[in-house]
């Protein structure tokens, strides 16, 4: 899995660059973020939650069963919305950060 950056949505704030535990993202000369090392992504989604612009897409590689869909996240402090999109399919999950998991 890895991350794609939507160049038209990225505002170049650098938050994702700063947060990546593998230091894998960089601000390019055009002021937009680039994923420098797509194969080195752990898939922790730290960057996804950091992005305020929904400019980051999380996807899983074909080698582990990816089919071309992607995930975006909206961090609303106490909750996070995850939106999965593939073609016509669009599913939203809201997870609460404040309540402990039963699982």
């Amino acid at each position: 899995m890895s991350i794609k950056i939507l160049q038209d949505k990225c505002i170049g704030c650098g938050k994702c660059v700063d947060i990546c535990p593998g230091n894998l993202l960089e601000l390019g000369v055009n002021g937009k973020v680039e994923m420098m090392y797509p194969k080195d992504c752990w898939g922790c989604a730290a960057c996804l939650k950091e992005c305020t612009q929904e400019a980051l897409l999380y996807y899983i590689g074909e080698d582990m069963g990816g089919k071309g869909g992607y995930l975006v996240a909206k961090d609303k402090v106490d909750t996070i919305d995850f939106i999965y999109v593939r073609g016509e399919k669009k599913v939203k999950f809201t997870v609460n950060r404040k309540t402990a998991s039963q699982y």
Binding site: M1, S2, D18, I19, C20, P21, G22, N23, E26, M36, Y37, P38, K39, D40, C41, W42, G43, C44, A45, A46, Y58, Y59, I60, G61, E62, D63, M64, G65, G66, K67, G68, G69, L71, I80, F82, Y84, R86, K89, V91, F93, V95, N96, R97, K98, T99, A100, S101, Q102, Y103
Partner: protein, 564 residues
């Protein structure tokens, strides 16, 4: 290429701001006003194992258990090779550190009487998505702690047999960093990326352990001549296929059966322990009864929704994989598999050989968390506890040591050692290829996935030679960016950890812990001869093996006969 230089001075330097490092910093803040520098190769808000969030607080001592019964359990699960002094001192602090992380804002599930609700026998239910930002926020409030993000440390500074700081470099700026300190606490976590993972192409980093924990702390200690223990005890996780998501979320949350392809509950046939459950799964596969599954098919829609959400909280690949394939755990059982092996002292027992106060055999150097050996099954609470213990010891130590003086000659020499990688001529060998070559050797000749984790001595001897050869090749690699310099150091450290691992396996002539050490040439567990620690000290390019007697629960272990 010239690197700039920045020199810092502090009382205590903590390397690695993960579970153990952050807790060390918080302890030093609470118990003193000494100056602390906490340095991490990434940003402490999301660095290390905790980046994506966690599932539960494992290793919690619930009602009905005691610190002693926890030690009994870990000793049994690890087949005797543990440091009971380390485990008991850790276990006695679990309650304190758990209350503290809760007070910092970690949600923990409680019953109507305010008691934590167990998750299995030795865990509690939390919301772990945010645990790292919560820790980082508390550290930020500690005014005597300076956090340095994105500085990768590479070696200790040693003078007159004492560790007096460490060298490093900035990950995104051309700056060489020198930090002098009266004492150093190493908390860099374990080592991932030694063995070829199942998906070695695009998704090569979809592995269980944090791929950015590359064994730097082990390697720094090995190079400096610190004694290390039990590197022959690898850790291999049993996880959901492909996504490497935790199985406990399903197994613990829903109480479903673990079955082979015929629907038989197979794990019961084998001794039940953490390595035993992995071994059972591998055996079923070898007998043609695999793949193995968690039997989730038929769970309710609500349960399925809950599972999706639980995974979104800490292991996103799993729900995305279900969504990609228009399926879910109610429709299909969840296949499980073993990962590639890791060296990680928080699950197995490999790492620094420490005294009961978590002092290493190098004066002035303390260690905490996954980098420490002898005390497996620490998990997050145990890493906190070790951070606490190491900090208290370091505070005591710095009372009697002077401020270190900078040594400019050594600084310049070390800096030039780094600049050399930029000056190396272009070569066809890429850092990436070298790493893949290492992983391939370890996989095929040191008991990786393709070998069903079985180790053959003749192959291991070949692996030893090849890893030494690859270690020499590292010096020819060329860096063009600071990232290249980082990657070069990561592979260099991994290679040294591989060498330690091989040296330790060669020294323990038995099998133990099922797949963690499955020696084809010595297939049986031999308690008569091998209820002891295999330790090593690296000197003049060689690992010298030291065998030590088991340390008991009531002992206060001190380093007396340090060799080196």
């Amino acid at each position: 290429m010239n690197l700039g230089v920045q020199i810092y001075n502090t009382d205590i330097l903590i390397i690695g701001a993960g579970a153990a490092g952050c807790y060390s910093a918080l302890t030093l803040h609470e118990k003193s006003d000494c100056k602390v520098i906490l340095v991490d190769k990434a940003n402490i808000r999301r660095s290390g194992c905790l980046a994506g969030g966690i599932n539960a607080l494992n290793g919690y001592i619930n009602k009905g258990d005691t610190p002693d019964s926890y030690v009994d359990y870990v000793k049994k699960d690890s087949q005797g090779i543990v440091r009971e002094d380390l485990l008991i001192t850790m276990a006695e602090k679990i309650e304190e550190v758990t209350r503290k992380i809760e007070s910092m804002g970690l949600p923990i599930l409680k019953d109507e009487n305010g008691n934590y609700i167990p998750r299995g026998r030795r865990g509690i239910r939390i919301n772990g998505e945010n645990i790292k930002p919560i820790l980082a926020r508390s550290v930020r409030r500690a005014e005597n702690v300076i956090v340095m993000n994105k500085v990768n440390m590479i070696d200790y500074i040693i003078r007159d047999g004492r560790v007096i700081g460490a060298y490093g470099f900035m990950v995104n700026l051309r700056v060489f960093v020198v930090i002098y300190a009266k004492a150093v606490i190493c908390a860099t976590g374990g080592a991932a990326g030694l063995y070829l993972p199942k998906h070695w192409s695009f998704s090569r980093h979809k592995i269980w352990y944090c791929p950015f924990n590359t064994g730097a702390g082990y390697a720094m200690g090995i190079r400096a001549g610190a004694e290390m223990t039990t590197f022959e005890m690898r850790f291999i996780a049993l996880r959901c296929k492909d996504t490497i998501s935790p199985t406990g979320t399903i197994a613990g949350g829903l109480n479903v059966r673990q079955v082979n392809k015929t629907g038989e509950e197979y794990a019961e046939k084998y001794k039940s322990s953490t390595p035993g459950r992995l071994f059972a799964t591998i055996q079923e596969n070898l007998k043609g009864k695999g793949p193995c599954y968690l039997e989730t098919k038929g769970i309710s829609e609500d349960q399925e929704q809950d599972l999706f959400k639980a995974y979104f909280n800490m292991s996103i690949a799993q729900p995305v994989k279900w969504l990609e394939n228009d399926t879910g755990p109610a429709k299909e059982n969840v296949e499980i598999e073993g990962t590639e092996p890791y060296i990680v002292g928080g699950h197995a027992a490999s790492g620094y050989w420490v005294d009961t106060g978590r002092g290493t055999t190098l004066k002035g150097l303390y260690a905490a968390g996954d980098v420490v050996g002898g005390s497996p099954k620490k998990y997050v609470p145990g890493c906190f506890a070790e951070g606490l213990i190491a900090s208290v010891s370091a505070l005591e130590y710095i009372k009697s040591v002077p401020d270190p003086e900078p040594d400019m000659d050594e600084i310049i020499k070390t800096k030039e050692g780094l600049e050399r990688y930029f000056d190396n001529p272009e070569t066809d060998l890429t850092i990436e290829d070298l790493e893949l070559m290492m992983q391939d050797v370890m996989d095929k000749k040191a008991g990786g996935i393709s070998e069903n984790y079985i180790i053959y001595q003749n192959k291991l001897l070949e692996a030893e030679k090849e890893i030494v050869r690859l270690s020499e090749l590292v010096e020819t690699l060329k860096a063009s960016t600071m990232h290249d310099l980082l990657f070069i150091h990561e592979v260099k450290d991994r290679l040294l950890v591989c060498r330690a691992l091989i040296a330790h396996i060669l020294a323990r002539k038995e099998s133990r812990w099922y797949c963690y050490l499955n020696n084809a040439d010595y297939p049986n567990q031999d308690d008569q001869n091998w209820l002891k620690y295999v330790n090593s000290v690296y000197k003049d390019g060689k690992f010298n093996i030291i065998y030590r007697e088991l340390v008991g629960r009531d002992e206060i272990y001190e380093h007396k006969d340090i060799t080196g």
